[in-house]
Structures are given as C-alpha cells and as structure tokens.
Symmetry: C2
Subunit: 254 residues, 2 copies
C-alpha cells in the first residue's frame, strides 16, 4: 500500500508573488504534483521532480477528479487556483466531486489554503470600497439561470450593498454585463462610484473610476473585477491623479 496522499487547494492571489501567503508557498514547495489551469501553473517556477498536470479552463470537475485520483495513488497534490480558491474558484468543484464521487473520497486528507481574492486586491489599489457591507456576485450564467443573477443584483442594489462583480464578460456572454448595468442604473443613483480593476497585480494592471452614469460596461474584459458602490461610497479627488474610493464604516459615521 502506498503512503497516504493528500490534497491541498491553494490560491495564488490575483497576481504578483508578494500576495502569495507563506502557507501556500510551503505547500507548493512540498507537493509531488501540481494540478491547475495552465496560466496559473505558469506563474510558478518549475521544480525538479515535481509533476505538473495542466488543464483547460472549462473542465473544473474533471480537474478536481484528476487531483483526487492522484491522491489515491499516494501523491501530495496541490491544486492551484488564482485568487482565493474558496471564492468563485476550484474549492467548491473539489467538494462537489467528493460528494458525487466514491464514498472513500470523503475521508481523503483535503484542506483549503486561502488567498487574496480579486475584489480585495482591487479594493486595496483604489482605497477601501469594501469597507462596509458588500455582496460578491458572479455574472456567469453557465451554471445558474440569468434570472437568479438579476434577482441577486436587484436585492443587493435595493438593500444598498456595495457590489463586487466577478466574471463580468467572456467571449460566450458579451451582452450580460450591459444587462446588469441597465438593471443597476434603474435602481441606484447616477453618481454611484464604479471601479473597474483590470489585471490587478499583473503587469497590465489598469484601474479606473467612473460613476454608474458614465461607466461603459463594455470596457470590462474577462480579467476585470468591477466594484459598484453603495449610496455611501465616496470618491475623494487627489491632485496626484487617481482618486481614492472608500465606503465609510456606517451611515452615522459622517
């Protein structure tokens, strides 16, 4: 019988080594096998004796099962995500594969190691727009009806949450982001701050601030994270260029 394997599901943060936690670095260093979407594995330097299993972007369940089968073979497997693996990423797919899979999979040694999620990095770059109550919503309708996305957007807008929008665009769904903005414009003030954060932490990082009225949602691409403010979110202009955007800690704070 081979040594017991284990699975660690880790997040590299959205970009840049400086946001990779020491826990994640240590797990990667000690792995026999790395599994992940090719561009994420590409962020890690090759290590002799360590096997890489690169997969495409749209095969999450297959990737999860592949990782679990490697663990059954006694491997120390690290499944690599961008951002936080627990936020719109691979961790949920692994637990889904475990629940649906062989009964023995439930007792595999599996754990998640958190990472900096895109919304946190985007927020940090521009100020503190997530400083008070907020929602995170994926605009992808691959796995849920668009009507549910609309219901959640409307609820978040009506209860005056700050809203972080993940997966605002893909080649398969270019219109959804426009639908989402039309809905939000009907429910929120025209001067609501909107932050577009593209490629945060990467070389192509570009962050800009608009209002709900002025924003062109067509400028969002697959690597863009959008933050739509609450009625309390403030834009603080600066002589030096990009303003600060923050959400006060409460209604009575000012």
């Amino acid at each position: 019988m081979s040594a017991p394997g284990r699975l660690r599901i880790v997040g590299l943060g959205p970009g840049g080594d400086a946001w990779i936690t020491p826990e994640v670095s240590r797990l990667i260093a000690n792995a026999t096998d790395l599994v992940g979407y090719a561009p994420y594995l590409g962020r890690l330097p090759p290590k002799p004796g360590q096997t890489r299993h690169q997969t495409g972007n749209r095969v999450e369940m297959e990737r999860a099962r592949h990782a679990l089968r490697l663990v059954e073979d006694g491997r120390r497997v690290v499944l690599v995500s961008s951002g936080d693996p627990g936020v719109f990423a691979m961790a949920a797919a692994v637990f889904e594969a475990i629940e649906e899979g062989e009964p023995g999979w439930r007792d595999i040694d599996v754990a998640v190691s958190p990472g900096i999620s895109a919304m946190q990095a985007a927020a940090a770059r521009i100020g503190a727009p997530l400083g008070h109550d907020f929602c995170a919503i994926s605009l992808s309708d691959n796995r849920k009806p668009w009507s549910l996305v609309e219901r959640r957007l409307a609820a978040a807008a009506n209860a005056d949450f700050v809203i972080a929008l993940y997966n605002p665009a893909s080649t398969a769904r270019t219109g959804r982001i426009h639908d989402a903005f039309a809905l939000l414009r009907g429910l929120k003030g025209a001067s609501t701050p909107v932050v577009f954060a593209r490629g945060v932490g990467r070389e192509e990082e570009h962050i800009f601030v608009e209002t709900l009225a002025s924003a062109d949602p067509g400028r969002a691409d697959m690597s863009t994270l959008i933050i739509v403010g609450s009625s309390e979110t403030r834009i603080v202009p600066r002589r030096s260029g990009t303003p600060f955007v923050y959400t006060p800690r409460g209604k009575a704070a000012r």
Copy 2:
C-alpha cells in the same frame, strides 16, 4: 524639510504567521512606526529602532489621524489591522480621516496591502461555503441603524445569498445576534447549514457546523465569524468527524 513619509495600511490575516503575505511582512520590516490596536501589534516581534503606537479598540478615527500626523513628520508608518484592512477594518477609517482632514492629507503617499479576511479563513477550514454568490454583513449597529442591518439580512436571505456575519456579538449588544437569527429563520429553510468559526488561525480555534434550526446564536462571541448557507449549500458528512460544507458553483451544477 524632512523626507516624505508614507502610510501603508496592512492586514495580518485573522491569525497565524502563515497567512501574512510577503508584501505585508516587507512593509512591516521597513516601517519606522507601527500603529494599531494593541493585540494586533502584539502578534509582531519587537524590532529595535521601530516605534509602536498602541491604541484601544474603539478609537479608529483617532488612530487614523495619529498615523497621518506621523506621516507628515516624515515617518514610514504601517497601520496594522487584523484580517483584511479593507473589510470591516481600518482602511475605511483612514480614508474617512483623509477626506475630513487637512486638504494636504489627500496627497499623502498612502496605500492598502490586502490580507486574508476572517470569512475566507473560516471558509477554508470547513470546505468552500463561499463558493458562490455571497454577502458580508456587519451586525454592529454602532454606526448604522439596526433597521438597515435587518433590511440587508432580509434582502440577502430572500435572494438566496450565502451570508457571512461579522461582529456577531459584543458586550454592548448581546441581543442583536438573536434578533438576526430570528429574522433569518423566518426567511430561510430550517436545514440551512450554519458555520460558527471562533478564533480562526489562533490557538483557541474552534469551528462547528449546525443548521439554522439547531444553531444557538448565543455561542457566538466577539471573535466568531458566522457563515449562513444558501439553499444550495451542502453538508458532506465524513467518518473522520467534522463534515465538509460547500456551496456549489451554480444551481445547475448537480
């Protein structure tokens, strides 16, 4: 004229050095002054030549202004938060102090360095409960009317978000968490998974899983983060004890 100072607002994560990002560690190592709530500074080893400015818990604005005045004196100041400084923490207080303060403060060199927030650490320990659309709500009514908390809880429940509850209890407000659970029980299924994560990443860490019907909200203390599932959130029992809890990536996923 003294050298230009700067302010960095950093998060240590909820506990444990293994979640402190290299960026945060580097900023702390290069600081002339550390400012923060005493227990957070207590997590960092003393460094010769580095000045510490410890403050109480309820003086965020005063602490923020103190940090900004140190920067005016040319100091390299790091303001230390637990978790992520951008999520229910010090970053919003600093930008509020800047907006309200002297005009020159807007052009101070200030930046935020993100950290692992309590909800991410709690989620990682138990599986992937934040795997799909979620809200984060602070139950503190120090700075907002309780009616707004109720409105947000109801909206989040009705739109079937996963809900992370910050600041569920304090000595000043022992009843609010019971009010919140009563409201959620009226709107969500009795079998909805609820995760209580106390002291995540710290020695006293204790995480347990209940349902909305079985949960005793009185077990939440000041260091507890609560995650209330959506209708899709699953509890996966394991022979080895604590179950996994996860939220599938979409309605159609199973």
